[in-house]
Symmetry: C2
DNA sequence: CGAGTATATGTCATATTCGACATGATGCCA
DNA sequence: TGGCATCATGTCGAATATGACATATACTCG
C-alpha cells in the first residue's frame, strides 16, 4: 500500500511537488505514480475549460460534487486515479488520449 | 459513481466480458473504463510471467497478498486501477508503457 | 497415490475514497 | 458597496478497496 510512511509525509505536504521525482526520497515508482495523477489532474482542468464547463456542471455530468471536482483538479491526494480517468472519459476523452496523458506526465491538450 | 445499477449488474456477472463494449447497455465511457482495467490486468500477468515471478513473489514485492494479485490478474471488479498501475510500476514498467497499455486496450508485451 | 507448488475464490476487519454539505476566498459587474 | 458566480478547503457518514487469511483447485514430480 505504498509505504504509508512516505505516503503520509507526502500527503502532509500536499505534494505540491512541482512535477518532479526530486523532493523526498520517493522511489521511482512512487514518483511515476504521482506524476501520472498530476498529469491527469492537469488534463482534466484543461478539458473542462475547453468545453466551457464550470466545476458544478462537470460535477453534475459525472454525478459528483463541485468540491470533489476541485480536489481532482488540485491533485488532492485523496482522489484516486480511477476517478480522474472516469471524469476524463465522461468529458469525451478517448482511451488513446488518456493513455497519452499517462505516458507523458504533462499537459496534453485534447 | 458509474450508475450503481449497471455497475451492480456487471459485477454480478463478474464481467467476463470477453473484452468488448458489447454486452449490456454500457455507455462508451463505462466500456472504455472496463477495457482499460482488463488491459492492465492482462499486462500485469504478462509482465509478472516475463520476470518468472510467482503471484506470491509479486505480492511480496508490492506489499500485498497472493489472493489480491490473483484478483488483479483476473480483472476482479473489486480491484482499482490505482492498484493495477502501482503493481505494474513496481514490476519496472515505465509511464510510457503503462500509457500504451491504457491507450490500446490489449496485450502490450513489455 | 501423496506431497509440493502455483493459482483461484470467498470472507472479514480495517483503511481509503466517495459524495455531500458548509464555508471561505476571489473576481467581476452594476 | 453589494450581490453573484466560480473555485478552494475542511469535515463527515456511507460506500468501496485493501491486505490477510482460509480454503479450493489444478499441475507437477516422485
Amino acid at each position: 500500500m505504498m509505504h504509508a510512511n512516505k505516503r503520509k509525509k507526502v500527503e502532509e505536504n500536499g505534494w505540491k511537488v512541482g512535477n518532479a521525482d526530486d523532493f523526498l526520497g520517493l522511489t521511482p515508482e512512487e514518483s511515476a505514480y504521482i506524476e501520472m495523477k498530476l498529469a491527469l489532474s492537469h488534463s482534466l482542468k484543461e478539458n473542462r475549460r475547453k468545453k466551457d464547463l464550470s466545476q458544478v456542471e462537470l460535477a453534475k455530468l459525472i454525478k459528483s460534487s463541485q468540491s470533489r471536482v476541485a480536489k481532482m483538479e488540485a491533485g488532492d491526494p485523496g482522489v484516486s486515479i480511477d476517478l480522474l480517468m472516469r471524469a476524463l472519459l465522461a468529458l469525451g476523452a478517448s482511451s488513446e488520449e488518456v493513455g497519452k496523458v499517462i505516458s507523458s506526465g504533462k499537459p496534453q491538450a485534447a
